[in-house]
Symmetry: C2
């Protein structure tokens, strides 16, 4: 791409560093900002900078938070003995949305992925193991996505905590509610038969 | 969406103001910035702010430029008598990429679109009409996209300059090079027959 302006080129190149944003999309976004009042660019850049500088992570569960201990961890009405292990804040938001979980979370901040150079030490694993060893937790729910990286991470954590005798579980894998059986992949359908549940449980939501 | 942090929520909301970026995509982009070193956010916000504040528009063709008169308009090797009318800087870049045009441009900055509240006065039309009336231009090439807005804009400009006797032309509409005839839409195929060209011209590129 040949740009008529170095300022434009630089802005487009920086925008195109974001994941899933190519040069063409970046140009479209930057030209949009140019057409809008200057305030829109100010608001955007200001909110990004403030967020990047001031954001905190909960000292207990490592979720993104504005305070030292997040709302969920400081809520006494939640069951602090049941800990759900998730990858990032999006998973917390998704599970919170269901209204089905009253325990607390532990946010790993990613998955073990040697190909991306992410090892166990870059994730919030040691604090989880400590928490489990301290004996205050009765059940650990593994809720990472079932990819190779997710399974590796699950297994790595499981190996370190199994001696403590804590109850471990995994979120159920199966056919999505409302999905047609014929379109489900074989592995999911296979597991949904192996891990079938008592019929009367299939209506339950909580 | 329920956010665990107001800072995060604000950043996501501002990001989601950009065209084609929904809340989920915005969250993905913002979380990416959080995972990257702080410098990446600094570079992005700095380049956007600098661009928004310092960018100039060429005083002759209204294209985005770092100087008062852009490189194309100040290039004496280009034919300043042939002016190609385009919508925005992306069209200039696309035509420049072909290497087939040696004239200069006139960037309108949009198309007449009453539904979006864009009238002729918001576009760079009057400076074009003045330029044509001054008699320094021999040919005007209309190169707006052939949508209802594009045709309206073309016709509005054409009405104002036809009395000057300047030669007007439109970029050719037809079947894309390499496309199968059977998949072309009827209007394009129809026009490509009505506006057929001498066979020996069909190999020419310049």
């Amino acid at each position: 791409m040949e740009f008529s302006s170095k300022l434009l080129e630089k802005a487009v190149n920086e925008m195109a560093q974001l994941p899933g944003i190519g040069k063409r999309t970046a140009l479209r976004l930057v030209l949009h900002l140019l057409k809008q009042p200057k305030e829109q660019t100010d608001f955007l850049t200001q909110s990004l900078m403030t967020m990047r500088e001031e954001i905190k992570f909960c000292k207990s569960c490592h979720n993104i938070s504005d305070v030292d201990i997040c709302e969920i961890c400081s809520n006494e009405n939640r069951n602090h003995q049941i800990v759900c292990i998730v990858e990032d804040v999006r998973d917390v938001m998704a599970i919170e949305n269901t209204g089905q979980f009253r325990g607390i979370y532990h946010v790993l901040g990613g998955k073990i992925s040697p190909i991306d150079g992410i090892g166990p030490s870059q994730l919030n694993i040691s604090s989880l193991v400590e928490k489990v060893k301290s004996g205050t937790i009765s059940e650990i729910i593994f809720a990472l996505s079932s990819t190779m990286e997710g399974d590796t991470t699950n297994f790595y954590i499981y190996k370190q905590i199994k001696e403590t005798g804590v109850v471990t579980s995994s979120i159920a894998r199966g056919i999505s509610v409302g999905d047609e059986l014929e379109y489900a992949d074989e592995i999911t359908l296979g597991r949904s038969i192996v891990n079938r549940i008592p019929f009367e449980n299939s209506f339950k939501s909580n």
